[in-house]
């Protein structure tokens, strides 16, 4: 316990608390001097909470040591390029490390933790939905300054945003761990920035959770004004949390791009990069640029609330639709941030388990870039009913439909790769296949939403909820699990338990399809989304009950995974060699990966996915004696 309290995590959280009190105290003091009210419903006033939240983040980072090298540089003091790892075992992961592998695992475990929190929220409100009428989130209850239905709204909104943050962290985790290994680099281009990007996400998560107890907010993850301009102070913590998490995403993405451009090993030309690297670059381009706009749109609402600047307030001449434009300029491309790495994982693993070359490598590589670029031009398909200028509908409808083309390229490649392959089905491969099917369902339900005439009916119904859960599970959740099963031995030298892996898959997948298809069914029949109750006369009770049961089964499956994951770290079957018989460089050296990655540099001498071609080789390692003088 004593050891825990001296970790960077504990110190950071402690300083975040101090920072929050300092910032809030500062504002409160000034308000007292100015003769304004000092306290409010949630003790501090709203400006005090905002500055407090902001100071909390700064104090966290200063207090946990993730910026200390930069401060030294600013004072003209040099620091070693890499610090010796001071900790071993679990302590390594709760302290600041510059090793991309450690940071990758920090990201991944944090993402899993947030998935559990977000999933728990979902189970709570899903339970309420199991029957029409209010069961336990009743109007006369009070918790955190909210009555039952208000609490429902907060949980539903937080479910969305916490899951999004966990996806961003999960994506960053896999990219961090895998990209430098695939490139043959010793680390990311900017190791300190990398650590900073991870650690800033921790106070961000705390802020998000703070919103729950500070009155919550009923806006959904999208935070549209005017509702968000009137919500309780919790919405400010939500905005601040997302803004902070956004910086994690922006800086992490920047790091990935620079790493790929500057740190590839010899011979790795663009057209010999692994598909996952292509996907990471495409994702990072979006995350690095577009994220600023969700940050900006949320900041503008924060300022509107704090200072009365009426950007989005029609009564003051503002324009609420402008918010939606700024917001979706990020949030549509963001869905590709979620899925492109996952689709990259699918393309990366399929050839390994089908023992065949990836079909149409070039096209697949380009399709990631194509999706990312076209993805910037489609945002207003979320706004067909918003009252935006009507002439915008048609161009956005067609640009959206255009995305289906590069997406189709990927499917074509996957199917052709599977075709006549010698497939094996370990858990990792099962999740790859599950991802493909789920993403297919999600992809097929996209174009109807994009078609204006249809979307006017589908918008804001459960059909949309079904659509995006299918895309996100297919593009992120399934591939994420696949990646964890696949690269787990690389990180730990042990395998995750196959039997429980299969149980995980066969429990989760059918439940998940029942869930989303059921959502789409009632959505088509008129079930509105984001609502605590529904009319019993609609006859949705039985479907909702089934959906709730399916939700619990998914929760159980994830629980099994989590137990398997942590149990296997120390008890899994040993696997130190090339378990999957892969051609990728990271599997040519023993597991777990040594601290400074490859002892000998490698050179790329062939195509990455020529599985089954006799005599072909992807990488060749330098002879030990030659690289001694390195």
């Amino acid at each position: 316990m004593k050891k825990f309290f001296s970790t960077a995590l504990a110190r950071g959280l402690f300083w975040q608390l101090i920072g929050t009190l300092t910032g809030a105290g500062l504002v409160t003091g000034i308000r007292v001097l100015m003769g304004l009210s000092a306290t409010d419903k949630f003790f501090f006033t709203e400006p005090a909470w905002v500055l407090g939240g902001f100071f909390g983040v700064l104090f966290f980072l200063a207090g946990n040591g993730s910026v200390s090298d930069w401060f030294k540089w600013a004072r003209g003091i040099e620091t070693p390029e890499h610090h010796e790892e001071r900790y071993t075992g679990w302590e390594k992961y709760l302290n600041v490390s510059l090793d991309h592998k450690v940071i990758g695992i920090q990201y991944t475990v944090t993402a899993l933790l947030l998935i559990c929190v977000g999933g728990l929220f979902a189970l709570i409100f899903r339970t309420e939905l199991a029957q029409s009428q209010l069961q336990f989130l009743k109007v006369d209850m009070q918790l955190f300054g909210q009555n039952g239905p208000e609490l429902y709204n907060t949980l539903m909104s937080l479910h969305g945003m916490i899951m999004i943050v966990s996806i961003l962290l999960g994506v960053a985790g896999i990219m961090n761990y895998v990209v430098p290994l695939l490139l043959g680099a010793q680390d990311m281009a900017f190791p300190r920035l990398n650590a900073f990007s991870y650690w800033i996400a921790v106070p961000a998560a705390v802020l998000l959770l703070m919103s729950l107890v500070l009155g919550g907010f009923g806006t959904g993850w999208t935070g549209y004004p005017p509702l968000s301009a009137r919500a309780p102070v919790g919405v400010q913590m939500f905005f601040l949390g997302v803004f902070t998490a956004g910086w994690s995403s922006i800086l992490g993405a920047l790091n990935v791009i620079v790493t790929v451009v500057r740190m590839r090993s010899k011979g790795m030309t663009a057209m010999r990069m692994p598909i996952f690297v292509w996907a990471s670059v495409a994702t990072s381009i979006i995350a690095m640029t577009a994220t600023q706009l969700i940050g900006l749109s949320f900041q503008l609402v924060m300022f509107q609330r704090l200072f009365g600047m009426g950007f989005f307030d029609p009564a003051k001449g503002g324009n609420p639709v402008l918010f939606q434009h700024l917001f979706w300029f990020y949030s549509h491309p963001a869905v590709y941030v979620f899925v492109l790495p996952g689709l990259g994982v699918i393309s990366e693993l399929l050839p390994v388990f089908a023992r065949k070359p990836l079909f149409g490598y070039r096209w697949v590589a380009m399709s990631s870039m194509g999706i990312a670029l076209v993805g910037f031009l489609v945002w207003a398909h979320h706004m067909f009913t918003s009252g935006m200028n009507e002439y915008l509908r048609l161009p956005f409808m067609y640009s959206t439909l255009l995305v289906a083309i590069p997406t189709g390229v990927k499917f074509f490649s996957w199917v052709a790769t599977i075709w006549k392959g010698k497939l094996t089905y370990p858990a990792a491969m099962l999740f790859v296949l599950g991802g493909i099917v789920s993403f297919l369902l999600g992809g097929l339900t996209g174009p109807p939403n994009a078609t204006v005439s249809v979307d006017l009916h589908l918008h804001d119904t459960y059909f949309i909820v079904g659509h995006f859960h299918d895309t996100i599970f297919g593009g992120f959740v399934f591939p994420f699990f696949a990646a964890l099963y696949y690269w787990f031995p690389k990180a730990t030298g042990r395998r995750m338990n196959e039997f429980w892996g299969k149980v995980h898959f066969w429990l989760m997948t059918p439940s998940f399809f029942v869930l989303t298809l059921g959502m789409m069914r009632i959505g088509l029949l008129g079930m509105r989304r984001r609502i605590v109750d529904y009319d019993p006369a609609l006859n949705f009770d039985s479907t909702h009950l089934v959906l709730t049961i399916a939700g619990y089964l998914i929760g159980l499956a994830v629980l099994i995974f989590i137990i398997n994951f942590f149990h296997s770290i120390s008890h899994g079957e040993k696997a130190e060699g090339n378990v999957w018989n892969s051609r990728s460089p990271e599997w040519q050296v023993p597991s777990p990966m040594p601290t400074h990655n490859y002892d000998q540099p490698f050179e790329v001498v062939g195509e990455p996915y020529d599985y089954g071609l006799a005599g072909s080789k992807y990488v060749e390692f330098a002879k030990p004696e030659k690289s001694k003088n390195k």
């Binding site: 600013a74 640029t289 200072f307 700024l326 300029f329």
Partner: protein
């Protein structure tokens, strides 16, 4: 690093670019009070931006690959440079978003601002960019003393800009009723747009001042040399970027559109 230019010609080039930028700024002002043509103003701003990006920020250096040894200082500098430019690209999305908000909310109207003050702070920022360029050039030729002198001038000009905007212009604008217009439907969100655009820019100027202080302080300790001064280059590029943003914000706030009181 090899110097393709000797010091005096590099400094001379800085002067020339400064003169061009001054002429273009004067031209902008002239157009704004005579033709009032938005498209010409856009063209002029783009030309100014291109000049700054090429001659002051040396964007072409992104293409340089000075060393193959990945552990050398110059290889790392190339890497850092790419990182910095990507950061600026990311940052420019914030300013682009603000610009989009301005166009959406204000259209062809503009806030009641003091034209002379606007021109003055613009000139001050431009001048600071000029001295920043001299400072960086000095350092690139190993002249630490020249660097220190120029950086002090840059700092105070930047500080003057900040005072001009935050202490003077914000008060004048408040007196013109822009703050009051936060709650006043007649002016629309004019006040909000003005304060958020200048505020976001001023915040960047402020951080730039901190960075200027840091490199000034470090240069006094003699930690930079003609070959190794990435810190100086980074601050210079950042400082010019702040100027670059103002090249677009100045006409957007002061010059285009109809005045609304």
């Amino acid at each position: 690093m090899t110097h393709t230019q000797d010091k005096s010609s590099a400094l001379g080039q800085g002067v020339l670019i400064f003169v061009y930028l001054t002429i273009l700024t004067a031209l902008e002002f002239f157009i704004a009070i005579t033709f009032k043509s938005v498209s010409i103003l856009i063209v002029v701003a783009v030309i100014k931006a291109a000049l700054v990006m090429y001659y002051y920020m040396h964007i072409y250096k992104l293409n340089e690959n000075s060393d193959d040894d990945t552990h050398s200082y110059s290889y790392k500098t190339d890497t850092n440079r790419l990182g910095l430019w990507l950061f600026l690209l990311s940052d420019s999305f914030v300013f682009a978003g603000l610009m989009a908000a301005r166009i959406n909310l204000l259209g062809f109207t503009r806030p009641p601002l003091n034209q002379l003050l606007g021109l003055a702070v613009t000139a001050v920022l431009l001048l600071s960019s000029f001295f920043m360029n001299r400072g960086e050039t000095s350092m690139a030729h190993g002249d630490t003393k020249g660097f220190l002198n120029n950086i002090v001038i840059t700092f105070f000009l930047g500080f003057g800009f900040l005072i001009g905007v935050v202490a003077v212009e914000w008060r004048l604008a408040a007196a013109e009723g822009l703050v009051a217009s936060f709650g006043n439907p007649a002016n629309g969100p004019m006040g909000g747009v003005f304060y958020i655009m200048t505020g976001m820019h001023a915040f960047h100027v402020f951080t730039g001042l901190i960075f200027l202080f840091v490199v000034w302080n470090n240069a006094r300790k003699n930690i930079y040399s003609a070959e190794q001064h990435w810190g100086v280059e980074a601050v210079a590029v950042y400082w010019h970027f702040v100027d670059l943003v103002w090249i677009f914000f100045y006409p957007a706030l002061y010059l285009i559109g109809k005045l609304i009181v």
